[in-house]
């Protein structure tokens, strides 16, 4: 079980701020593919991965990073702070 969080327009497209997902996926990419199979809203949100960043356990990582028992994973657009 992993807590999946979404922020900004990714959150809006998915429709929830977070959800608990039961998954056997080994990498971030596998999890994304698994989510895309679920419902069209995921397919839409994840259609352009170059516009999405990912963090595992609150640290930025890549799409080929292994989940390795991660507690939480977050998907969001490039940051615009400052």
């Amino acid at each position: 079980m992993i807590k999946v969080l979404y922020f900004a327009w990714v959150r809006e497209r998915i429709g929830v701020p977070y959800e608990i997902v039961e998954t056997q996926s080994g990498t971030v990419m596998e999890l994304v593919e698994e989510l895309k199979q679920k419902e069209p809203r995921y397919e839409i949100a994840f259609s352009d991965l170059s516009a999405i960043k990912v963090a595992i356990n609150q640290e930025l990582c890549e799409f080929d990073t292994k989940l390795n028992g991660a507690i939480e994973i977050a998907f969001f657009p490039p940051m615009t702070g400052g």
Partner: protein, 148 residues
């Protein structure tokens, strides 16, 4: 070192007074603050800043530690607001204290560059016609290159 992610406004004068706490090693303090400006169509009503609670603190601490080590800073301060902000409101501030001005200037710029594109904040511009998420610009990303 102080990092604060907060909804409420802050007083720059008060913050800088506390920051310059009499450490006689400090010879230079640089501070920067960002404010909400109008969009190019001059139609901004307000701005909403979303954050990733927990990760914001963590990420900022990380970059502050990097700056302190790289420029031998005596102190560093980052305040970043989130939530609803009006035109002209202060969004954030950074202050750095070093022995010499060059280190203070450079570390403040470093922190600004990292806050802009590595701290998990997202700006939304609200106008009377609706809203849009502020897009990141390539310049912000390439600004990080010079620190590598």
């Amino acid at each position: 070192m102080r990092i604060s992610v907060q909804l409420k406004d802050f007083d720059i004068g008060k913050e800088l007074k506390l920051f310059n706490n009499g450490d006689t090693n400090i010879g230079a303090v640089v501070s920067f603050h960002g404010i909400v400006r109008n969009n190019s169509e001059k139609s901004l009503m307000h701005m909403d800043i979303e954050q990733y609670p927990g990760m914001t603190q963590k990420a900022i601490s990380n970059y502050v530690e990097m700056a302190v080590e790289r420029w031998s800073l005596y102190d560093a301060l980052v305040i970043h607001r989130h939530g609803k902000l009006l035109l002209g409101d202060r969004i954030m501030m950074v202050a750095t204290a070093a022995r010499h001005r060059r280190d203070a200037f450079q570390s403040a710029e470093f922190l600004m560059d990292y806050l802009k594109s590595r701290a998990p904040f997202w700006k939304k511009e609200v106008t009377k016609d609706g809203y849009q998420w502020v897009k990141s610009v390539l310049d912000d990303e390439s600004a990080l290159e010079r620190w590598r």
